[in-house]
């Protein structure tokens, strides 16, 4: 059963008026230089019939339209190979669609210069590499790259953005440490600070918590929620753990074999049927006064 009727397009049951397509068109002009202050109406990412493939592969995603509503936290979930990371790459303009288009606030991401796009959209990957002797502070300052010209030195706005990033992530104590001396969780927090220093309207995260211990998993997700609540930053996160995605996301996009299986608020999307059909898992799903819980029981054949 594919609940196509709830796909982006979209019915009003989401009650988020600011994600109506008409709005996206109106903000196109100002989208290019939104600057540091995040306008809650900005940051809507949509794909229109995108076909995505890698060199030497067939289409991974074949003509999908999805929408990441502005100012919300959206999680892309699905089993391995369902195309969630591929879609995220396309949203970040790191993978060019064979067909169809990716729009940020009504304008194609590919039409922006790479610096323009980086001022609006930040991307955090699962694993990152940095020279071991780099200090965390130096690393975070690199987040200001899209805001600086070739010979421009750091200005007040850069200092302020970096300070705010350190505040939000809460890693002032790591500031002078070398990246090589950090634990995996601390490293990911430092990288998160780098992306926040970028001051994006849209934050894309590709399995940001996969290799982290529970404490750091929750810290990363908390920072993302805070950023969304305080600055209205649009967040799209690819998450392998549906139990966590359910707790943190306003919206879920469940993917199966490169196609959208279902879309909507977690309590609508996450059902025992979804877990069985998409994830192949027998699980108990409960929503107790908005507190979701998913308890997997066993793998289905």
């Amino acid at each position: 059963m594919r609940l196509r009727d709830r796909l982006p397009g979209r019915t009003s049951e989401s009650a988020e008026s600011d994600t109506e397509p008409s709005n996206a068109g109106a903000t196109t002009e100002s989208g290019a230089d939104a600057g540091a202050d995040t306008d809650p109406d900005l940051g809507e990412l949509t794909t229109e019939d995108v076909v995505l493939s890698y060199p030497n592969s067939g289409p991974i995603v074949d003509g999908e339209s999805i929408a990441i509503p502005a100012g919300e936290v959206t999680a892309l979930v699905g089993p391995n190979g369902s195309g969630k990371s591929t879609i995220l790459k396309a949203l970040a303009n790191q993978l060019t669609p064979d067909d169809g288009q990716v729009l940020l606030d009504g304008r194609q991401v590919a039409d922006r210069t790479s610096k323009e796009l980086a001022q609006e959209l930040g991307l955090l990957s699962q694993e990152n590499t940095a020279p071991g002797t780099l200090t965390v502070e130096d690393l975070v300052y690199h987040g200001r790259y899209p805001h600086r010209g070739f010979l421009e030195s750091v200005d007040e706005a850069d200092h302020a953005a970096v300070e705010r990033a350190f505040d939000l992530v809460g890693i002032h104590d790591l500031r002078d440490r070398e990246v090589g001396s950090l634990s995996g969780g601390q490293k990911q927090l430092a990288w998160l600070a780098l992306v926040l220093a970028q001051e994006p309207n849209v934050l894309l995260l590709d399995e940001p918590t996969t290799y982290l211990d529970l404490h750091h998993q929750l810290r990363v997700m908390d920072v993302i929620r805070t950023l969304n609540a305080e600055d209205g930053v649009t967040v799209a996160v690819v998450h392998h753990d549906i139990t966590q995605a359910v707790r943190f996301a306003d919206y879920l996009i469940a993917l199966e074999d490169g196609a959208v299986y279902d879309w909507g608020p977690p309590e609508d999307v996450v059902t025992e049927q979804l877990l069985a059909e998409v994830f192949g898992v027998d699980a108990a799903v409960e929503f107790d006064q908005g507190e979701p819980s998913v308890v997997p029981r066993r793998a289905l054949d």
Partner: protein, 373 residues
């Protein structure tokens, strides 16, 4: 007090990653100071000793001979190759023969070291040297082709060598390019081009029947400063200074490139363009060195590691460090090359290899994370 200290360290001389003045820290300063002392001492030895011997004091006087220093015309005449006025013998030998050789050594050392540092970042490979993308094999083949086949063009050897190196670099890039490129593709293409060109080069030796030609060719492919004078300074100085300046200014791009292609791209860098431009700067620096000194080995590989070991991997500091340490190694090595077996002069590349190899070995034994970029 705690918060006061914090503010003090933030706004004080502590390193702000992007301040143009803030990058100088104590270790970098010490490194640059020691290197400068080595260059000055080495230079003093070079101008004092030789076939026309004079005492260190005499040499010192000659270097600071007011007849030269107080007269811009003389300096210009030396630099641009004009008529020289009547000068004392010592002054003439120092200023016309020995000092330019030291200057060439400084230029070659700085360009090779910076070029090596650039290529280590561009290819994300700690074993990268200025020659990794085919520059050496292209220049080498061009030189030997000229010496063996087109002997009449020998007077244009520096230009031919540089052009050969640049051509090989472009060929490497073209081979590596497939809708974009990557560090691994570039390095592999470099190996391919080097293999083919080196075979051709070795093959050509069979057609040289004059021992003098073979010696000249070997001296070129090992790297030598024998006989360099103001002519070589004139050839190298513009591309050298330009590429060094661009490298210092572009150091932030190198730092971001070191965060990986994906991160650099998501931060808004046009990775392919920036990588190509940086590689071009590195190749121009290397070509300037190759044109005047031939293929001096090891300097471009080792100096960035020595500097990185002292100041860390921030490229702003690393490049500045290379500009000082490269000349120190080169000038010191040339002292050995010129004076160790006097009156026979060795190609300086032999000495850099003999000094550099063991030093690299020492670093490897001492440090665990030597290669860490």
């Amino acid at each position: 007090m705690g918060s006061d200290t914090r503010t003090a360290t933030r706004s004080g001389p502590g390193f702000e990653p992007t301040d143009w003045i803030g990058w100088m820290d104590a270790r970098l300063f010490a490194l640059c100071a020691v290197s400068t002392v080595i260059v000055v001492l080495g230079g003093l030895v070079q101008v004092s000793f030789g076939a026309y011997s004079m005492s260190v004091v005499e040499a010192w006087h000659a270097v600071f001979d007011p007849a030269v220093l107080s007269n811009p015309d003389v300096i210009l005449a030396l630099l641009l190759g004009g008529e020289l006025p009547e000068l004392e013998n010592a002054t003439l030998i120092v200023w016309n023969i020995r000092l330019p050789r030291v200057l060439v050594a400084i230029l070659v050392g700085a360009t090779l070291a910076v070029s090596g540092a650039i290529f280590q970042a561009v290819t994300r490979n700690e074993l990268a040297s200025p020659y990794i993308l085919g520059v050496s094999s292209g220049a080498g083949l061009a030189v030997i082709l000229t010496l063996v086949v087109f002997g009449s063009l020998a007077y244009m050897l520096p230009v031919i060598a540089a052009l050969g190196g640049l051509t090989a670099f472009l060929a490497v890039y073209a081979i590596a390019w497939k809708g974009g490129t990557s560090p691994v593709r570039l390095v592999l293409a470099g190996v391919i081009v080097a293999t083919v060109l080196n075979s051709l080069q070795t093959g050509l030796f069979f057609f040289a029947d004059d021992l003098g030609v073979v010696k000249a060719a070997i001296s070129w492919t090992t790297g030598s400063l024998t006989g360099t004078d103001w002519e070589q300074v004139r050839i190298a100085i513009v591309p050298a200074l330009l590429s060094l300046a661009v490298a210092v200014l572009a150091s932030r791009q190198l730092n971001v490139l070191l965060l990986g292609e994906r991160t650099a791209a998501s931060l808004g860098m046009n990775v392919e363009l920036v990588r190509f431009l940086l590689a071009t700067v590195g190749v121009i620096a290397a070509a300037a060195a190759v044109a005047v000194a031939g293929l001096v080995g090891f300097v471009g590989l080792i100096v960035p590691h020595v500097v990185r070991n002292t100041v860390g991997s921030n490229y702003t500091r690393l490049i500045v460090g290379c500009v000082f340490v490269g000349p120190a190694l080169m000038v010191a090595a040339d002292v050995g090359a010129r004076l160790a077996l006097s009156p026979v002069q060795l190609p300086v590349g032999i000495v850099t290899g003999l000094v550099g190899g063991p030093y690299f070995l020492y670093l490897m034994r001492k440090k665990h994370e030597l290669g860490d970029l």
